[in-house]
Subunit: 532 residues, 2 copies
């Protein structure tokens, strides 16, 4: 339908539309242009903005910020800066999802492993399709993403819908699902992504809960590690399972789930008449950075017909590293995966994806088919209206910053980022594992960048193991942290875990950190802690 | 504890710390400064950055963007641009929540009704407390907000925690709760805010559901208007109630709930043995912009001991207008209120607040007391660690942009914004109500800015009311919209509603729109629709 203008090489006729329509254009001029639009529409229905050849389009800039904001939350066209009418705005260009999508697939991921040639395209994000997505300035790109935030239908945010779709596919490919098949959505954080996974699992096994409520299901039980993130517990409370029906699994000394404990607890639950439905395996626990053995857990899930979710909010980023991705071996057997680029990959918060292996579940689980938003008689393929998959309505644009980073760094850039952080944490581990005054919380090199350790001030080093030592050691980390915060030089977190008294947890996710920063941290701990 | 340095007038001694610590400072220099920090700490534990007098601080600028990003997601101090260590960063200044909070209360809302004197403070957001929150450039403020996004504990985002707390209090005051008492949180959109309201209501009446699941409660039913937003339905599905237990209430011709229908359905549900628990009253429905009669609904809620939620996602903004806030009369009787500044008030998406009248419920409902985040032995009042109230963990900073806008426009600015939009919609209504070829979907001036109408091409005007006319009229709006999208001149949404075939719904939320924009819209509709 829009064939002619959509081809990037098509530099024909209607360049006039790329001229700026200034705010102070006379009404006559505006009217003339509008008439011209209409005549073209009547002739061939082939209208889009991106049909000048060469590099001309890259020189167009948007400099009037007030306009940018005033236009509302939908996509403006850089060819027009007329005064806004409403939200959505008066100024438009149009393409169909399918043709856009095809071009995107080619242009966006043509060289996914290495950084894109930003010298040419960094300042201007374009689709080779019917629209320019501004701009001449990095700050504007961020502002754009910041200011224009709603995604639930293709027509409101076509570029972002396509970006999300293609990026999710890429992520599913990296997870290891054939051809990147499946489904997914960006959500406002890992906790919500994990909540999605429980909802989807419930819909898969007991779809009638959607209409009839939990009363329609037997007593369902969920399983997760005692070291897992509290969001699984929050989900079990919120979704009506109840936290008592979330069964905590024992872990080994390193914080990894013991598969035999899972199987024993599944059998026990079944004997009680409960229905084991969902298992969360954590890839990168919050405190120890442990990776649960996904393959062994997947065996048990298959045996007992349970949903396997992998919470890779923290550890998912390691999938980008050829050196470290083996820690997630088996992730391709998961039914759903949480992966937060806003954690290990350094994308600014919020940017979290829930990936689902089976298509249709996300839609089936959440859709309510609100007629006022998701009309079925639209003039394009409404499968691109992704909003009804979400528990939200409008969604913040989280994809754009991630997509930009991916284009800028390439997959190889993320790999280097991650490898560097893990190298640094190994450096820290090796530096303190035999150093006087330090004790590691668990043995062996950490799987992730979490280095967990106690610092013992000299006054505690001679004490025998016992209650007094424990009590005094419990207070060391909070005191040092408070002094750090007061002095303003550094900060490192601490917490207890199970029987273990307060210990430091140093987590490295910033690749700009250096070995001398690590050295400095250790100096500071000793400086503050020496006299405690 | 930090008294000396916290007072803005205290321009004593330690100005040295405001000198830039450049990346290329020598190690010796760094060490010297750190030692100096520590000595001060040992002497009096009075350390903060904001202790130079006069306007000197306003001239300090941050120009190295790469630094700004490299520092991670925690708050940097403008006095230091050293290389980052980790997330959280090395560079800190510290205050206690209570003292900060006090100063904020005074400084932030000292003149809430009128715009702040930005000439002095626009470019630099400061707290009169121990930290500067940059910056010399509006874009940086946005970037800052965009890039540093995590809020779950005070220590990670003290300024944003306080901003959120005080802004929520202000919103509760405007709702009409005495002294702004109550609770609340910013969430990723109105759908999630509405979901919170259902969760909190359930926790209030059946707290045991949190641990035991929905099996612990009787069959609970919820009520909402047949015109309400679909998020209430999504919440009833997600939270385990089941959509069948959400009972839809009849509305009058204008789309407002008929209170007698609510009471009849409550009685009917009780007769069946169900437990009516929750009523949603919509303040500004999505399609008609109708305001349910809150006072009459509140009477019924009190009589039958049900939770009253007001979904003011769309209409909440009218509370800022002395002329229009009467449409929400009774809102102060609600147990909870959803209010999205990102809709009618023009704050960029996402910015949605759930306000709760009773303190403690939000925390009780959602807290899981994760020891690794919410340690109780921190050196400050952990009541400021708001994260455990949320179903999320880290949260995007949604408050900053809203706070900035409020400071810039003042309450009076929002009032003008809203009054102008409503004036414009009244202009549109008056223009078309008797115009040839137009039919209004409901009679009388719209309550909100939603103007709902049919356009009848000349070929339909002579047709008698009947199936043929309905069928043809149903196709008019989609066709005109498609032509608008193709021509790129304007766009206006349409939908059916109940028995009513597709009609246009013009919604105005952008105060930059003008009467001539409205005129243009009408021209365009007629231009495209004339020959259909």
């Amino acid at each position: 339908m829009y064939g002619k203008c959509n081809h990037p090489a098509d530099s024909s006729s209607s360049c006039k539309r790329l001229g700026f329509l200034q705010k102070n254009n006379s009404l006559e001029e505006r009217s003339r242009i509008v008439t011209s639009f209409k005549e073209r529409a009547a002739k061939n229905l082939q209208l889009s903005c991106d049909n000048v050849g060469g590099e001309a389009r890259f020189r167009r800039t948007e400099t009037d910020f007030s306009n940018l904001f005033a236009r509302g939350r939908s996509r403006p066209c850089s060819s027009c800066s007329r005064s806004p009418l409403t939200d959505p705005p008066r100024c438009w260009t149009s393409t169909t999802p399918t043709s856009s999508s095809r071009a995107w697939r080619a242009s966006t991921w043509s060289s996914p492993t290495s950084p894109s040639p930003w010298s040419r395209s960094w300042w201007t994000v374009r689709t080779k399709e019917g629209f320019l997505l501004l701009s001449s300035h990095l700050l504007l790109l961020f502002l754009f993403c910041f200011a224009f935030g709603s995604r639930f239908t293709y027509e409101i945010a076509p570029v972002f819908v396509l970006m999300e779709q293609l990026t999710l596919k890429k992520m599913r490919e990296i997870v290891g699902w054939p051809e990147g098949e499946g489904d997914g959505i960006f959500s406002p954080g890992g906790a919500i992504s994990n909540m999605y996974s429980v909802m989807i699992a419930r819909y898969k096994y007991f779809p009638e809960v959607k209409t009839k409520g939990m009363a329609a299901a037997p007593r369902l039980v969920l399983f997760t590690s005692e070291h897992s993130h509290y969001s699984i517990k929050k989900a079990s409370a919120a979704l009506g399972f109840g936290t008592e029906n979330l069964i905590l699994l024992k872990t080994d000394e390193r914080g990894r789930v013991i598969p035999a404990d899972l199987e024993a607890k599944v059998i026990e639950a079944k004997q009680k008449g409960y229905v084991p439905m969902f298992v969360n395996a954590t890839a990168g626990t919050t405190v120890y950075g442990a990776f649960d053995p996904i393959n062994e857990i997947a065996d048990i899930c298959e045996k007992y017909n349970m949903w396997l979710h992998v919470d890779g909010a923290w550890g998912g980023g390691l999938l980008m590293s050829r050196k470290h991705r083996h820690k997630l071996n088996g992730v391709e057997r998961a039914n759903s995966v949480t992966w937060n680029p806003h954690k290990m990959m350094g994308v600014p918060l919020q940017c979290s994806a829930i990936l689902v292996r089976e298509r249709g579940l996300l839609q089936g689980c959440n859709s309510m088919c609100a007629g006022y938003l998701f009309q079925q008689d639209k003039q394009y393929d409404v499968a691109y209206d992704t909003g009804d998959k979400a528990i939200q309505c409008g969604r913040h644009v989280d994809i754009f910053k991630f997509w930009l980073m991916w284009k800028a760094k390439g997959t190889v850039g993320f790999e280097q980022h991650i490898d560097k952080c893990l190298d640094l944490s190994a450096y820290l581990y090796n530096k303190i594992k035999n150093r006087e005054g330090y004790e590691m919380v668990f043995n062996g090199e950490p799987q992730h960048t979490n280095v967990c350790f106690w610092y013992l001030p000299p006054s505690l080093r001679g004490l025998p193991d016992g209650e007094e030592r424990r009590e005094r050691l419990h207070k060391v980390a909070p005191k040092i942290k408070a002094m750090m915060m007061e002095s303003g030089t550094t900060m490192v977190g601490y917490q207890p875990q199970g029987e273990k008294v307060n210990f430091f947890r140093m987590v490295i996710s910033n690749p700009a950190a250096t070995r001398s920063d690590i050295d400095f941290l250790i100096e500071e701990i000793e400086r503050f802690g020496n006299d405690l």
